[in-house]
């Protein structure tokens, strides 16, 4: 096991290096300049732009900039945002709690919906409940989040005037703080949670359906076990193996935020940081955020593989 882990981690290093080279080159070749606004402003002399470019090392050749970035990264320096003149890690850490709260809650909501609905629908395939759940699930993952987001805003903020649609800092104290937080987070969490929940329901259902027909379930039933025990202990437990993998692979998304939804509700998360950095050509921030995503994807892939083996002892690490 330890041997396997060590090998996987060592393999991860060249892939991360490769990813960083590709990211860095693509960003360096992309059009645009972080100090672009300076160029179109007649009141700013070109020398200021030239001196800023020199100060931030933008005039060096790409490989020199890459090596510089890599060395800094190895020492834990994530770079310095051109637009805000702040260290990139400060920016990311500022945004992380909101992202974790909103996207994390959405994932939890998705699981809370998907597990019972998926399992119940699978134990009674083609019943009325199954048909309805299926239809709703299809509708759910066919509608993109930007559409449902706008729909929710129209209905709950504009016509009914129940919920605010701008996610902002809560200044209230005491219980009102929690209340305000819940109110403003309700819509984005529901939008993302329902979307995720819909596809996950389908996944849980098919996974349980595969399992429920197997011989060991029939054996359990014929032993005279209660139906509930059969489902929970013999079906769901086994059916969860692929589901757990799926959830683990979705964890990087939790950190990455949901770019579109964050933009619609003005949630100050990682996704909106990335989008504004891209619009401002703030390459160090883009680089840091995308690289963190890459690391997370690799890490959670590894975790998923390890979990898989733990859940299913038939799988051996070699």
């Amino acid at each position: 096991m330890a041997h396997y882990l060590a090998r996987r981690l060592i393999i991860a290093i060249p892939s991360l290096l490769g990813i960083s080279i590709v990211l860095f080159t693509v960003l360096a070749l992309a059009p645009g300049d972080p100090f672009e606004e300076l160029a179109s402003n007649p009141a700013v002399p070109p020398e200021v732009r030239a001196s800023l470019r020199a100060q931030f090392g933008l005039d060096d050749p790409i490989y020199a900039r890459y090596l510089h970035w890599l060395l800094a990264m190895l020492q834990g320096d994530w770079g310095f945002s051109f637009a805000s003149r702040v260290n990139t890690d400060t920016l990311i850490l500022q945004r992380l709690p909101t992202t974790l709260f909103v996207i994390g809650s959405a994932q939890v909501l998705a699981l809370i919906i998907a597990l019972p609905v998926g399992v119940y629908a699978a134990t009674r395939p083609y019943s009325v409940f199954d048909q309805i759940a299926n239809t709703l699930a299809f509708v759910g993952f066919s509608l993109p989040t930007f559409f449902t987001g706008l729909l929710f805003i129209l209905v709950f903020s504009i016509y009914l005037d129940w919920l605010p649609f701008v996610y902002s800092d809560v200044t209230a104290t005491g219980w009102r703080w929690y209340w305000e937080h819940i109110r403003q987070a309700l819509m984005p969490i529901a939008v993302l949670g329902l979307f995720q929940g819909a596809s996950m329901t389908r996944y849980v259902r098919s996974s349980v359906l595969d399992m429920i027909r197997l011989d060991h379930v029939t054996t359990a039933r014929s032993k005279g076990l209660a139906e509930g025990t059969v489902v929970v202990k013999h079906v769901v437990r086994n059916a969860m193996i692929p589901v757990v993998t799926l959830v683990a692979l979705q964890m990087p998304i939790v950190f990455g935020g949901a770019i579109v939804t964050e933009q619609i509700f003005r949630i100050p998360g990682i996704g909106s940081l990335l989008i504004s950095a891209i619009l401002a050509n703030d390459t160090p921030v883009i680089m840091a955020v995308t690289f963190v995503f890459a690391c997370l994807v690799i890490l959670f892939n590894l975790i998923a593989d390890v979990l898989y083996g733990w859940l299913d002892p038939r799988i051996a690490y070699r």
Partner: protein, 596 residues
């Protein structure tokens, strides 16, 4: 309009035949900025009727929270690093200049005790210096007194090339000296008619010496105060998350009585303009939203809800079509649109005149921009130009046909005019932006009727407005026949603005297309007039020179103005805010209050 006529008009104002506002409107009609018009009147001794703002609250604070929505959030809070308006506005909550510009183009003292004038002797007659008297008993948010030393330091800080401030051009060419603890003198190297640049408006915010002293030059980026501003403004710093949120709380020691009204302020960033308009006008979740780049049709629909409305402020932005005087289709020394070439079709003035006649500005205003873009033809040659705002431009397909016909451009079998085998076919480029594409269509249709074939090209804004030397589609390279975009007057004075027609400013390969002259129009007479205006101290003579320059550009159809683009903001019906198109939106934040 020449100098005598201008003086006549000023006399009319003096004896009351013409209202101050009427005079200013006429000057705007001539393409002069409002502040310059105000300056002319002030010079003639016409009292500056300062726009009265009725500030009703009788005590400081008690107004609750003021919630502002900026769909692009402030990313930094050092006014001298703030290039975009979003950052300037964020900084303006905390920092103040000596004086600001109001909507009529008057200077209004903020940290200055009074506005310098020739009568007081604070404004040198020879235009070589200006003396500012500072308000006493002003303190920084941390309790330290505000003195002349802070002004002198701001100048030292901003002019240092190693600091790389965006205001370096304002402070680089002047000298600032301390006269006494509350007086500073700005000295110029040559007679300077436009003296109100350093320490004024968007580029004039004063920073505290005691907090920035250690962070001048290359160390500037490490200053903790960059992110935690300490200013003299009506609100003190509370919290800042770049790109997302700026929060401030009331400054209990603010230097004006009974101000500010609100207990706290929050400036939320992110999202898009349409939903920001919704949050203010329709749901009332926010009090004010900046820069409503939203179609007027949508704004009007939202306004029916009634919780707020759009405020439109006249400024100096103009959407116009630039005409290429060089040949974009021939490459000379690795450069197209080179100065060594001449445009085969557009060098004929008749063609340019016809193009100007074919821009249906009224349709563009009515069907595309509405209140957010007012048809203008300030520069179009028309004898009736000074009589009424509406007759200054003309749209006439017939007349365009006549002009082309007379110049020998005759229609071929395909309906496209040609002369000497050269067909009137142009590529017309602009950035991707729905109103611009609609405007392109309107112009193309009119051109078709006059036998001109326009090929429309749209380029992503991030490429079109970039300074990427390798990309052929930037607006400065101008590798096409005509192009359309908005040009912004970043200063209330037209000098910087008029730079864009100087011969030395032509964008070429040599200067990496950083020159400001995009049309590549050149005229030695214009260059001479510009030089004269730079040193002309009499505001009337100077204005006459600027009008002359305007006329030269326009009578030659080097540019075809389309619409004025005023600033549009969304504001709650109960909020009272003092707006100005010549300064930041938050220039008079101290005066904002909410009607009960």
């Amino acid at each position: 309009m020449n100098e005598q006529e201008l003086r006549g008009l000023i006399e009319d104002v003096q004896v009351g035949r013409l209202s101050r506002r009427g005079f200013i409107n006429r000057m705007v009609g001539l393409g002069l900025a409002v502040p310059l018009a105000g300056q002319m009147l002030a010079h003639a001794g016409v009292a500056l009727a300062q726009t009265k703002f009725d500030y009703k609250p009788t005590k400081r604070g008690g107004g609750g929270a003021l919630k502002l929505l900026w769909w692009q959030g402030a990313t930094l809070l050092n006014p001298h690093f703030a290039v975009g308006t979003k950052d300037q506005e964020g900084s303006r909550i905390f920092y103040e200049p000596l004086a600001g510009w109001d909507g009529e183009g008057n200077l209004v003292p903020v940290l200055a005790a009074e506005i310098p004038s020739v009568e007081d002797g604070t404004l040198a007659k020879d235009g070589m210096s200006v003396t500012w008297k500072l308000k006493k008993d002003v303190t920084w948010h941390d309790g330290k007194p505000f003195t002349a030393d802070d002004c002198v330091f701001t100048w030292e800080y901003a002019r240092d090339p190693a600091t790389a401030t965006y205001t370096v051009s304002t402070y680089g060419d002047v000298d600032v000296e301390k006269v006494d603890s509350h007086t500073v003198r700005v000295k110029f190297k040559k007679p300077t008619p436009f003296w109100a640049d350093a320490f004024v408006g968007t580029r004039g915010m004063i920073i505290p010496k005691h907090l920035f002293e250690a962070y001048k030059g290359a160390a500037s980026r490490d200053a903790p105060t960059n992110l935690k501003p300490v200013g003299t403004g009506p609100y003190k710093f509370a919290d800042f998350k770049p790109g997302d949120m700026v929060r401030g709380e009331i400054n209990p020691n603010y230097h004006e009585p009974n101000k500010p009204y609100f207990d706290s302020i929050e400036m939320k960033g992110g999202g898009d303009a349409v939903s920001a308009a919704r949050a203010v006008i329709q749901t009332g979740e926010y009090d004010y939203a900046w820069n409503m780049q939203v179609e007027d049709e949508i704004l009007q629909r939202l306004e029916k809800g009634g919780k707020g409305h759009a405020v439109i402020t006249q400024g100096g932005n103009i959407e116009y079509i630039a005409v290429n005087f060089t040949d974009p289709w021939t490459e000379v020394d690795g450069e197209r649109s080179s100065l060594k070439t001449k445009h085969p079709l557009l060098s004929d003035p008749a063609v340019r005149q016809a193009l100007a006649l074919l821009v249906d500005r009224k349709s563009v205003q009515d069907h595309v921009y509405g209140r957010t873009g007012v048809a203008t033809g300030n520069f179009v040659n028309n004898p009736e130009r000074f009589k009424s705002k509406n007759t200054k431009w003309e749209f006439s397909i017939d007349k365009a046909n006549q002009v082309l016909e007379a110049a020998g451009w005759l229609k071929g079998s395909d309906g496209i005019r040609a002369k000497d085998g050269k067909k009137l076919k142009f590529v017309f480029q602009t950035s991707i932006n729905a109103p611009r594409q609609k405007t392109q269509q309107i112009i193309k249709q009119a051109c078709q009727k006059a036998g001109i074939d326009l090929e429309l090209k749209s380029i992503t804004a991030s490429v079109f407005f970039s300074s990427d030397v390798a990309n052929p589609d930037t607006y400065t390279k101008f590798y096409c026949d005509i192009e359309m975009y908005t040009t912004t007057m970043v200063q209330p004075d037209p000098e910087q603005f008029m730079l864009q027609f100087l011969t030395v400013e032509v964008a070429t390969k040599e200067n990496k297309w950083q020159g400001r002259n995009i049309t590549r129009w050149r005229n030695p007479e214009y260059d001479k007039a510009f030089q004269a205006a730079q040193g002309e101290l009499d505001p009337v003579k100077r204005a006459a020179l600027f009008i002359k320059m305007n006329d030269m550009v326009c009578n030659d159809w080097a540019v075809i103005p389309v619409v004025y683009r005023p600033r549009v903001a969304a504001i709650s019906s109960r909020l009272r805010a003092r707006m100005s198109g010549w300064d930041n939106d938050l220039w008079a934040l101290k005066d904002w209050y909410r009607e009960a």
